[in-house]
């Protein structure tokens, strides 16, 4: 516990940790010192001078060092002759701060007047109008009339694109530098800079494409004025016209807390639509940030051609039918004797959906299969990140090993938080087959060949091998706390299984589990993979065979046929396919029954994040006519089969989950809605302190305990490794990696991200390309497992020399390493 100091701010006595800045101490006392250039997540710079206050220090006798007393026995306080910046001055014992004296008020008024001399005050057409710190402070402290000659104002270009996602209004910029500092200090994408000086200072981007950062949207929140706007929200709505609904980002396993701002509008045919996504503070998860995928990738909700009616195959054609008829058909199928049922569930389903699907599946002795290429959810449930873990608490004394993960692409917010933990002094070990954006912050960077993931972890365990390995092994073993984060870079399910076992073994041998800030963390590729494991779903190494042999396959939130032609072939052989979908996917097209389901934002539910934090989301948009929630449909089918599955509300399903599922005992919807005291104390209401991100009024969720936390006996299985079978095949080995902006169902509809989508190419080292006489930009025909695909070629010297990389969900059907044949396509001569 840090030393506490007590000071007086205006008439209030405040006690805060030593080193707290005056502005933050004041917030604690409910006193709002206005700031522009200060942000509680960044180093103070004292530029804007808005936070000037009177600061007095207890006076000490020069000779004796004793505190000097007034006649009445109180300590004498001597005030500095000048005002001081509250954002740069740490509090000390006995300090006195005055924020409302004439002198302080004069300072504040002066700074505002200065800012306004060069501000256009075009609030009526400004996207920030209504939630702007400058606007509010002007109303509070500003002069009613300008002493500045209007014609002398500098005019600048407005709406200057900084790339295609963010616009800059040069006139509105108050040169607070927050955007520049955020890009440099916080997210390490130093693509914004100040250009020129004095009144001519302006923000410029020097990257290609402009403002090349996956965190760029955050600058529009922290910009204290309307100088930065996303193209997405530009002129889209006024803040006061929108309502707010809390939700959880569905794009990755981090589970960032957000708010969707919605409005009913004529422009959208009188429908209620989402106008923007904003971060919601959760210091355990995403702090105050969102990545651009989470912020801008919500347009899929409005994507056209949703399924609205149950479909039934009649005479080889899917035709709309009533719910009753569809249910009846499924019931008949399930009631047939000795039906072999497989339930294939995707990681976008909620815990409630998965629980009900599992109940239904179990009643028919079906096989519950998780549609995922990563293993280890059973291990994370047992020795995963201990309850009470928080990246923000990690620093000196903690060792973090990141293996087979390009965190920046796979889970942006974790990348950010791991980077910051390393900057605070945590030992960071990054092991990967190729360089990633985390290497720069690592104390140890370990390289291996694709396929050697598990062997690499074993080498760390032995502490033998190359020098780097022994050093990293030593560093990892000497820490107080240790965690291992594993991803899926270059891995399929087999490799993942090997890897996670090795990771578990390492953690167990080092004793890094069962306590906060220790344990195993999986970078799942979908938001609720952990929940799916917890509800009883596991991936299947032989999915092809399982589907082929099934009599009935229930497929929810997964499109195996669309992802992989081999699985499509397998499904051809499945007798009866039931699909739960929002859209007419390839798999739905092959189904015998299709149930239309609601989107995440049309319903309530919970996800369990990678950190095993159960988080709740609300209904954001009224659901469209027709579809139901997966949990409801599963429950109704269950009831037809004689089960007492809960179909009334997810709240009630959770009450069943907490009775039955280990670790979920304490989870109820009301507990998930509990707020927690968070630091920094941000606010929208009084000052947009820390930007326009939302305070968390809707609950921060609950991190569930691991078996080890609960002191239960562990059953980790054999952690002994099978030597990976060397696959021998001809051709080029292609390994799958994750790209943030892939061509998945959830991303494509967001036009704003179109230019940033990962190119559809085989990424290869120049050495490899030379072998096949290929050049950057060539088109090739790729033969993979009997299929032919056309792809581009891109050269990258960072890629290992003997493999080619392909992004998942990017048009190339790959889920695990494969060998392919390639052939260069000669462009047709132009006619």
């Amino acid at each position: 516990m840090a030393d506490m100091v007590t000071l007086k701010i205006d008439q209030q006595i405040v006690t805060v940790p030593a080193g707290t800045l005056i502005v933050n101490a004041a917030r604690k006392a409910g006193i709002n010192i206005p700031v522009f250039c200060y942000h509680p997540k960044m180093e103070p710079v004292g530029m804007c001078r808005m936070c000037l206050v009177e600061v007095g220090y207890p006076q000490r006798d020069r000779v004796t060092g004793e505190l000097v007393k007034n006649e009445d026995g109180t300590t004498k306080i001597s005030f500095a002759p000048k005002l001081e910046t509250g954002c740069t001055t740490p509090v000390v014992e006995g300090m006195e701060v005055r924020t409302t004296t004439e002198k302080s008020n004069e300072g504040r008024k002066a700074i505002l007047e200065f800012i306004l001399t060069s501000h256009p005050l075009d609030c009526p057409i400004c996207d920030k109008g209504g939630e702007c710190a400058l606007q509010d402070l002007t109303m509070l402290h500003g002069p009613g009339k300008s002493r500045f000659i209007y014609d002398d104002k500098k005019l600048f270009a407005k709406h200057v694109p900084l790339g295609e996602m963010i616009l800059l209004d040069r006139e509105r910029c108050i040169q607070c530098g927050l955007c520049v500092r955020f890009q440099h200090e916080v997210v390490d994408d130093p693509v914004l800079h100040f250009y020129q000086r004095g009144r001519s200072l302006e923000i410029r981007t020097y990257s290609e494409p402009g403002f090349d950062s996956i965190f760029s949207g955050n600058t529009t929140d922290i910009c204290p004025v309307g100088a930065l706007t996303t193209v997405d929200f530009h002129f889209a709505a006024r803040p006061w016209e929108m309502e707010r609904d809390p939700s959880i980002c569905a794009h990755c396993a981090v589970g960032c807390n957000l708010i969707y701002n919605i409005r009913r509008e004529a422009k959208s045919g009188g429908k209620t639509v989402i106008k923007r996504a904003m971060p919601r503070q959760n210091e355990f998860v995403n702090e105050l940030w969102l990545c651009d995928k989470g912020r801008l990738g919500y347009h899929y909700v409005a994507a056209a051609e949703r399924l609205t009616q149950p479909l039934l195959r009649k005479d080889e054609k899917l035709v709309p039918v009533s719910w009753e008829e569809a249910y009846q058909r499924v019931e008949d199928k399930l009631r047939a004797e000795q039906v072999r049922l497989v339930t294939l569930a995707g990681g976008r389903l909620t815990n409630e959906d998965l629980f009900n699907f599992h109940q239904l599946n179990q009643s028919q002795n079906g096989k519950a299969v998780l549609y995922s290429q990563m293993a280890g959810g059973d291990l994370t449930a047992q020795i995963g990140l201990g309850k009470g873990s928080n990246f923000s608490d990690m620093g000196k004394g903690t060792a973090i090993l990141v293996v087979a993960s390009d965190l920046h692409e796979e889970a942006p917010l974790w990348w950010l938080r791991v980077k910051q933990a390393a900057q605070r002094g945590a030992i960071l070990i990054v092991a990967n087959a190729r360089p990633t954006r985390l290497d720069k912050f690592a104390n140890h960077v370990l390289r291996y060949e694709y396929g050697q993931e598990a062997a690499t972890i074993n080498a760390l365990l032995d502490g033998k091998g190359k020098d780097e390995f022994t050093q990293a092994a030593k560093a990892f073993s000497e820490a107080e706390n240790g965690l291992v984060i594993y991803g899926s870079d270059g891995l399929g399910l087999n490799g993942s299984e090997q890897l996670v076992k090795a990771c578990a073994k390492l953690l167990v041998e080092r004793g890094y589990y069962g306590k906060p800030n220790n344990g195993l963390l999986a970078v799942w590729d979908k938001p609720n993979i952990q929940g799916a494991w917890d509800m009883g779903f596991h991936p299947d190494r032989n999915l092809k065979g399982t589907l082929r042999e099934a009599d009935v396959a229930m497929i929810a939130a997964a499109d195996p046929a669309g992802d992989n032609p081999i699985l499509a072939q397998a499904l051809e052989e499945t007798d009866f396919v039931i699909v739960f979908e929002m859209f007419m996917t390839e798999t739905a097209k092959m189904a015998d029954v299709v149930f239309p389901v609601q989107a995440q934002i049309e319903r309530e539910g919970t996800y369990t994040s990678g950190e095993r934090r159960v988080q709740r989301f609300d209904i954001v948009l009224p659901h469209i006519e027709g579809p139901k929630s997966d949990y409801q449909i599963a429950a109704q089918l269950g009831r037809l089969m004689g089960l007492s599955t809960e179909d009334r509300s997810p709240v009630l399903v959770m009450n069943k989950i907490n009775e039955k599922v280990k670790g979920y005992q304490e989870i109820t919807y009301s507990r998930l809605a509990e707020r927690a005291e968070q630091w920094p104390l941000i606010s929208r209401a009084d000052s947009y302190y820390a930007g326009t991100g939302y305070e968390n009024e809707y609950g921060v969720g609950i991190q569930i305990s691991s078996s080890a936390d609960r002191g239960e006996e562990l059953s980790l299985g054999t952690l002994i490794l099978v030597e990976p079978q060397e696959e021998v095949a001809t051709g080029i080995k292609v390994v799958p990696v994750t790209a943030l902006y892939d061509r998945g169902q959830l991303i494509q509809p967001s036009q704003i991200l179109a230019k940033r989508l990962t190119p559809q190419v085989l990424l290869m080292h120049p050495v490899l390309s030379k072998k096949y006489q290929l050049q950057d930009g060539d088109q090739i025909k790729v033969k993979v497992a009997g299929n032919e695909i056309v792809s581009g070629v891109k050269l990258d010297a960072d890629v290992p020399q003997d493999v080619a990389l392909v992004a998942r969900s990017n048009g190339f059907p790959i889920s695990s390493p494969v060998f392919v044949q390639i052939q260069r396509l000669v462009p047709e001569p132009e006619a």
């Binding site: 001078r49 002759p81 002066a110 700074i111 007047e113 001399t117």
Partner: protein
């Protein structure tokens, strides 16, 4: 008998040649410190001499050296050769004509704080001077005074010159450091001060060129000798850059404590055309405008007396003389325009205040203003004061407030009734 301590080239021809410099006791002091003195003793000697920084603030040099912590390494030394204050042209003469004495001073300071790397940060316009200094540095390297294991001792030192890109603010020590690191020249928050966290986050000593040039003779002849010049609180000699309406503008090296009267009328040859003196500015554009009455002219030019008697800091001692023909409104419009042009823009009051004052004075010079605009100008200046991140913002207001207060009639002639 030699007349000069700093401008020795005026006594010794070709002292910019290493052999000539050496033949005139050059590098004796440096050889003495590296071979026979402990760094702390060098610092002590400088402390005892009472030498105060010539960059403007007059901070005691030896005391500043003592601020560099001995638990954080490496240390760096930077010679501030940005010399951009209007009316200041002393460092340039030193470097152009007596380069070795300046470099030797820099070497002594570097030894005193045990820095192995020193920089000379020059304003961008000094590019020829930078090339010239590079040659002189080379000469010293060839002669074994710079480089590895100097003169057979364990001490190593390298000096590099670095050119700014044309910004007055880069004379401010923390903006200078940013610029030296290759960043935009904007001041840093202080504290921490450069002595604790400076170049690349390491303890850094920054001294003005003239400050450093004093060192060889202080070491060679001792603190007591140095104290035989100047006043009790401002020992030694100072180069006064004299400009404006005087007959003989130029650099004058004189003991601190010489009066305005002596400097302007005895050394500077009096006012042009025998005009009447109206006012003086003692620190270039960053000065109060002081009415040049007898009381003012009798003021000794020393750090303490300027403050005590006329409340106008000596600063860099760049004395600008203004006679009766000078229109103070014009003068203010010029200084304000300078600061508007040079404001780095980092902090609000200076960025916006200088722009505003500039726009007001422009209207004034175009005879477009009203009487209340004079009050407005003064009010804007006062509003800037006490709120800026660095001293430049404060500097920008000094002439404005004092000129309006003391020479309001000059402004009134520009306004419409």
């Amino acid at each position: 008998m030699e007349k000069y301590i700093l401008l020795r080239h005026r006594d010794v021809p070709e002292i910019d040649q290493l052999d000539v410099y050496k033949a005139n006791d050059g590098l004796v002091a440096f050889e003495k410190v590296v071979k026979s003195m402990q760094p702390a003793d060098v610092t002590l000697e400088v402390k005892n001499s009472g030498l105060r920084g010539r960059g403007g603030a007059g901070f005691p040099t030896g005391i500043k050296w003592g601020f560099l912590p001995n638990n954080s390494w490496p240390h760096y030394v930077v010679a501030n050769a940005d010399e951009s204050e209007p009316g200041t042209f002393k460092d340039r003469e030193i470097m152009e004509s007596n380069p070795f004495q300046f470099l030797e001073g820099l070497m002594i300071a570097s030894y005193a704080v045990q820095a192995n790397q020193a920089y000379v940060y020059l304003r961008g316009e000094f590019w020829q001077l930078a090339a010239f200094l590079d040659e002189k540095i080379k000469d010293l390297e060839v002669a074994g005074y710079l480089g590895e294991k100097i003169l057979g001792t364990d001490y190593s030192l390298k000096i590099n010159t670095h050119l700014g890109a044309g910004a007055y603010i880069c004379g401010e020590e923390t903006a200078l450091l940013e610029s030296l690191e290759g960043k935009l020249g904007q001041p840093r928050l202080r504290p921490p001060f450069p002595a604790a966290v400076g170049l690349y986050g390491k303890p850094t000593l920054i001294n003005n060129v003239e400050t450093l040039t004093n060192l060889p003779l202080i070491i060679q002849k001792g603190a007591d000798w140095y104290r035989s010049f100047g006043t009790e609180q401002s020992p030694g000699v100072k180069i006064f850059s004299l400009s404006g309406c005087v007959n003989k503008p130029g650099n004058y090296e004189l003991p601190l404590g010489v009066t305005y009267q002596e400097l302007i009328f005895e050394h500077g040859g009096g006012i042009v055309n025998d005009n009447k003196i109206k006012a003086v500015m003692s620190a270039g554009a960053s000065s109060d405008v002081v009415v040049a009455d007898d009381f003012c002219l009798q003021t000794p030019l020393a750090y303490e007396t300027c403050l005590d008697r006329i409340k106008a800091p000596l600063g860099s001692a760049s004395i600008i003389v203004l006679d009766e023909t000078v229109d103070m409104a014009w003068l203010v419009s010029k200084t304000v325009n300078f600061f508007k042009h040079e404001s780095c823009g980092k902090c609000t009051p200076c960025r916006e205040g200088t722009f505003w004052m500039d726009s007001l004075t422009k209207h004034m010079m175009a005879n477009e203003s009203r009487s209340e605009d004079i009050d407005l100008l003064r009010s804007v200046a006062l509003q800037v004061q006490g709120k800026c991140l660095c001293a430049l913002g404060e500097f920008s207001t000094m002439a404005v407030v004092t000129a309006v207060d003391r020479f309001r009639a000059d402004f009134e002639t520009h306004v419409r009734s």
